[in-house]
C-alpha cells in the first residue's frame, strides 16, 4: 500500500460571521477524517452546499475569513518536508503552492485573465515557483503544453480565442507545469460538452499517471467518478458519509445516500423511472440532530434521529457512517426501484 500524501484528522472548519450584531456559525466541514495516498485519484462527491468546496479550500491552504479551521489538522507529506495547513504561515504556503500543492480551477473562462495573453499568464503563475525565466522557462512551458496536445501558438493567444476545451487544457497546464505532487481538481469538466469532457478527463488521468501525482477530484457527477477515481468519498452536510474503492461504491454501496446517487444516474437504453431524492441538503448553520441524512433517509429509525453514526470500517478500504449499512442494497441493475428507495 502506498504512503499517504495527506492526512486529514478530525477537521472542523466553520464560517463565523457577524452581521449587524447577529453572529452565525456555518459548520461547513464538521469532523472529516481521511487520507489520500500518493499517486491515486481520490474522488469527492457531494451536492452543492454539502461543504465540499469549503473542505477543498482547507486542503488547498486557501483559508480566508470568515472560514476558519476550528479543530483538527491537515498534514501533507511533501518531498521538501511536512506541511501543516492549519498552522502554516503565508511564507510556508507560498513555498508549497504550485510546486507541491496545485489546483485546477472550475470555470476556465473566469480563471484566465482576459486581457493577458496565455504566455503572460503562464509567466505570472509559474516563473517564480519554477525559478526559471526567459528562454529556459518558455521551452519548459512549450514542452509541457505539447504533452497536453496544445500547440506553442497558444501562448500568444488571448483566452477568448480558444475553445472551451482548449481553455480547460490550458488551466490544467497551469496547474501541472511545476510538476506538483498533489493536485486538487474542482469540477474541471462541469459545463463542458460530452466529447470534450471525456478528452479532458483522460488528459488529467494521463498526466496524473505520468507525474505520479495524487489528485483529489471534486465533482457531483458520479459518472465522472466512475471513470476517473480510484477511491471515492461522499460528503454530506459537512461530513464524510462513505468512502471506498470506486467499484464497491458503485456496485455495493453501504450508505443510502450513495445508493441513491448511483441509482439516480440515467442511462442510455434504460427508461424506467429514476427516483429523485426528496428534500434538500440541510442548512449547515442549523444541522439536524443525529445522523444528518435521516430526514431524507428511507431507512431512518429512532436511533438515527438521536445519535450520529461513526465512520466505521465495513470492508477492505471501505468505511461508512450509517447505523443500518447492512440493510443498504445497491439499486443499480434492479428491475424495479426496490430496497431503500421503495
Amino acid at each position: 500500500m502506498a504512503e499517504d500524501i495527506v492526512k486529514v484528522e478530525g477537521l472542523k472548519a466553520y464560517y463565523q460571521m457577524n452581521y449587524f450584531g447577529v453572529s452565525r456559525e456555518v459548520r461547513a466541514v464538521d469532523g472529516i477524517t481521511m487520507t489520500v495516498r500518493k499517486g491515486e485519484v481520490y474522488g469527492i462527491a457531494g451536492e452543492s452546499s454539502s461543504g465540499k468546496t469549503s473542505f477543498i479550500k482547507v486542503l488547498a491552504a486557501a483559508i480566508r475569513p470568515p472560514l476558519r479551521v476550528v479543530e483538527g489538522s491537515v498534514k501533507f507529506d511533501f518531498k521538501n518536508g511536512p506541511f501543516e495547513v492549519a498552522t502554516a504561515t503565508p511564507r510556508e504556503i507560498e513555498a508549497v503552492r504550485w510546486k507541491h500543492l496545485s489546483y485546477i480551477m472550475q470555470g476556465s473562462m473566469s480563471v484566465l485573465n482576459p486581457v493577458r495573453r496565455i504566455g503572460r499568464t503562464f509567466h505570472d503563475f509559474a516563473s517564480r515557483p519554477m525559478g526559471l525565466t526567459g528562454k529556459a522557462f518558455e521551452d519548459r512551458v512549450i514542452a509541457h503544453l505539447a504533452r497536453l496536445k496544445l500547440p506553442p501558438e497558444v501562448l500568444k493567444a488571448y483566452p477568448h480565442e480558444l475553445s472551451g476545451g482548449m481553455r480547460q487544457r490550458v488551466t490544467i497546464g497551469l496547474a501541472t507545469v511545476c510538476h506538483p505532487e498533489f493536485i486538487i481538481a474542482d469540477e474541471p469538466t462541469t459545463a463542458l460538452d460530452v466529447v470534450v469532457q471525456k478528452e479532458v478527463l483522460s488528459l488529467i488521468r494521463d498526466i496524473q499517471k505520468e507525474m505520479n501525482a495524487a489528485v483529489v477530484f471534486v465533482t457531483h457527477d458520479m459518472s465522472v467518478h466512475a471513470n476517473v477515481a480510484d477511491r471515492v468519498g461522499i460528503i454530506y452536510a459537512g461530513r464524510l458519509v462513505e468512502e471506498g474503492p470506486t467499484r464497491d461504491m458503485f456496485f455495493a454501496p453501504k450508505h443510502p445516500y450513495t445508493a441513491h446517487l448511483v441509482a439516480s444516474l440515467p442511462r442510455i437504453g434504460d427508461t424506467k423511472q429514476r427516483p429523485a431524492l426528496e428534500g434538500r441538503p440541510p442548512n449547515l448553520a442549523d444541522p439536524p440532530q443525529g445522523c444528518r441524512f435521516h430526514p431524507r433517509c428511507p431507512l431512518a429509525v429512532d436511533k438515527c434521529r438521536q445519535e450520529a453514526p461513526p465512520l466505521e470500517q465495513v470492508g477492505p478500504d471501505h468505511r461508512t457512517a450509517c447505523w443500518r449499512w447492512q440493510d443498504v442494497k445497491p439499486l443499480v441493475g434492479a428491475s424495479a426501484p426496490s430496497g431503500v428507495m421503495a
Partner: protein, 304 residues
Amino acid sequence: MTTLLDVRDVSKHFTMGGIFGRKTVNAVMDARFSLSAENPEIFTIIGESGSGKTTLARMILGLEDPSEGEILFRGKKVTRHAGRAEKLAFMSQVQPVFQNPFEAFNPLKKIERYLESTARRFLQTRDTAVIDRAMDEALQKVGLSLKEVRGRFPHEMSGGQLQRCAIARALIPNPPLLIADEPVSMVDASLRMSIVNLLKSLRDDLKVSVIYITHDLATAYYISNRLIIMQRGRIVEMGDARTVLDSPQHPYSKLLKASVLSTDDAGDGKLETDPGMVTAANGLVGQAGKLVARPDGREVRVYG
C-alpha cells in the same frame, strides 16, 4: 391536428468583424421541425457547444430574427419587431429557462424581485396576495417555497436552487411551451433527476411542451419523445429519441454516444475514445449533404 410551433427551414448567419475582414458564421442552417399542440412532448436538441442549439432557441423565443426561413407559433410569425402587447402575449406562451442561473438573476436584487416582476406582468395585477400565491405555487412545483426564497440574494443560494427558482419563474404564466437551455448542466446530480422528472411531469400533468436543449445524452434518452442532433449548425440526425440513441447512424451521433461516461465499468478507468470516430465526425463538418428519411422514421444527413 394543429401545430404549436413550426420551424420552417430556418437559418441564421452572424457577421463578424468590421469593414475589413468581414466574416460570416453560419450558426444555424436549414433547421426544420414542428411541435403539435395536442400532444405535448419533450423535444430535445442535442449538440456540442457551438453547434447552434442556443441560437435556435433564441430564434424560437423571438430574441433573434432568422436570416432565412420563418418560425410560426400557433400560426403567427415570431419576430423581434412585434408590438408591445403582441410581444407580451407571446411571452406568456413561450417561456425560457436559461443555462446559467447566476447570469439570469440580478445579483443586486433579491430573488423574489425577479419572480415578482414576472408575476405582476403576466397576471396583470398589483394585489400582493395574488402575486405571492402565484409565486409560491410556482416555487412549490420545483420543490421550493416562497418562505425559503423570500429575502435571499442569488449569491446566497447554490446553483441548483437558483436554477429551480429560474424554472419556477418561467412557470408563473402557465405557458404551453417552455424552452430550457441546458437547465441541468449547473445542477447537482441528486437534484438533476428531480428537475428532469419535473420536466417530465410538466409534460404529463400540465400538458406543457418542452424544448430541452442539452449535451447530456443520458437525460435526453430518459425524458424526450423526439430529438434532433446538431453539428455546427446543421441537423445531422432527427427522429424518435429511443430509435436514434439506441443505434445512432450519423458518425457524429455515434461519437456523442461513445463519449457518454458509463458507470457499468466503474473503477476500470476506461477513457479512450476511438480516434477514428473523431476524425470521421469532424471530417463531415462543413459539408452540406441532405437529410434523408429512413424506414424507421428518423432522418439522417447523408453526403455525396
